[in-house]
């Protein structure tokens, strides 16, 4: 579903590449998470997958990138919209400002796609229920809390039924329970609806629990790639600007004092930590 080959990208006037000879293949329906320090290239990769590089941010893009069968460099943004969804961190800026209720805000993308009104109403209602926004349906989008706005931003993109969903730290304004709900939703989308998920996030424990695959980016290159528990169970992640899971750090300290499981990998999730200390 996502095929990147030797992708190198320089922002305008930048000397160092933001993406450096990056090759990546993500099959349909995979939930792939990407981690890395600030400036490692996570957001840049997200912009490339959604076509904003090179169509919005100019600069120099080399290599080949195909998303959902579209050669991204050759496909206009308007044509990618609806096929490739994109949610980013600041929820307020994802609200169009042209709609006066949450219900209409969610419908905005469908209106632009020309979806018939009856079908549109059904899809919007389904999305309101799914994202727990029913009670806010008739309120003004700008009067919502940060967490509600973040769920609204996801709902507004998801309602367009994209084949690929790219998210750049979409849980920044959510509390732990809210973040977990989003990860659980992404897991379901990937599993049941075959939507390919590409998520940039710092939430190591949630990634280990819900994602199929984790990538670690540094200096615009993929330096680690594999099953999340395997590559995230490393107290040394901090070198790469990633804060390891609290369970991993705790287990690491415990092991140094001869507590917990002596062999095997360190835990990343709560369930693994339970097994580790048993």
């Amino acid at each position: 579903m996502i095929e990147a080959r030797h992708l190198t990208y320089h922002y305008p006037r930048a000397e160092r590449p933001a993406l450096n000879d990056l090759t990546l293949s993500i099959p349909a329906g995979q939930f792939c998470a990407v981690l890395g320090a600030n400036g490692a290239g996570k957001s840049t990769l997200a912009y490339a997958l959604t076509g904003f590089i090179p169509h919005f941010y100019r600069g120099r893009l080399e290599g080949k990138l195909e998303v959902a069968g579209n050669d991204v460099a050759q496909t206009p943004l308007a044509q990618l919209a609806g096929t490739v969804g994109f949610v980013f961190a600041n929820p307020f800026n994802q609200i169009t400002g042209a709609k006066f209720t949450v219900r209409q805000e969610i419908a905005f993308g469908l209106e632009n796609l020309g979806v018939p009104p009856t079908e549109m109403a059904a899809r919007v209602d389904e999305m309101l229920a799914r994202m727990g926004l029913e009670e806010a349906a008739d309120r003004s989008p700008i009067a919502l809390s940060g967490g509600q706005q973040q769920r609204l931003a996801i709902a507004s993109v998801l309602v367009m039924r994209p084949q690929v969903l790219v998210l750049d730290e979409p849980t920044s304004q959510l509390d732990p329970a809210g973040s977990e709900a989003i990860f659980r939703l992404l897991r379901t989308l990937a599993g049941d609806q075959e939507i390919t998920i590409f998520l940039a996030s710092h939430k190591v424990a949630l990634i280990a629990e819900f994602a199929d695959r984790a990538l670690i980016l540094s200096g615009g290159q993929i330096i680690d790639d594999g099953a999340p528990p395997a590559i995230l169970a490393d107290p040394g992640l901090e070198r790469l600007g990633i804060i390891p899971s609290a369970y991993t750090e705790l287990a690491h300290l415990a092991r140094q004092r001869g507590l917990g499981n002596a062999g095997g990998p360190l835990p990343v999730t709560l369930a693994q930590a339970e097994a580790f200390f048993r």
Partner: protein, 261 residues
Amino acid sequence: MTTPFSLYLDRETGLHRLHPLTKLALALFYLVAGIAAPGVWGSYTVFLLLLPPALWGRIARPLLVAAGKAVLPFAVSLFLVQGFFWPGGTPILTLGPFSLKEEGLVFAIRSTGRILALVGSFLLLTLSTRPDRLMQALGERGTPQALTYILLTTLQIVPRFQEKARTILDAQRSRGLETEGNPWQRVRALLPLIQPLILGSIVDIEERAIALEVRAFGRSGPKTNLVALADSRGQQLARWLLLFGAVAVVGARLFLAVTGP
């Protein structure tokens, strides 16, 4: 919490249920009639005629209050400047070196009436029509989407901008910036506000443009609307009659001006 900037008052009335373009045509008719009305008190009559539809829409009181507030400063300055400083003219009241001139007074009354009718027709439309519905109606009649978008989003961005300015100001104040006191101090307090506000807003605009593209805003081809605007044959006819009426009023006024006394 921010709320959109809009004069709209949510009521369940027949006026509110009218198609936005019908209300636009009605407001336009009042506006033209109010400005073209002859005589000193003509515009005031038109303003009074705004009251029946305003009462129907249960917005008469806010309309009167808002119109009063908006027109008062104009009225005061018109009376002072035109009334006392009309060149030549017939004095009707003398206060020391100043004298109130009849011609100036008549001009001030007539101008105030026109402004009142103008503001009143605008308020009749805006108090009873949700801005997004009006823009949807205009969009359906071929107004470019980019234009209706800009008009609508301004209503929501202005309050957001104010809130942001307040946040920045509070942050600067908590670090010891003096924002109160004499006018010079207030002006100086603006400088550290401007930079984060402007730069922050440029970043916002970039992200907003991306968000719009994600939602297929730039896609050409037919678009649909979640909510259909209720319209009727009667309202279509009424709109044509109102537009025709507005043209007729202008015609009559021109005719009077050419042949008049």
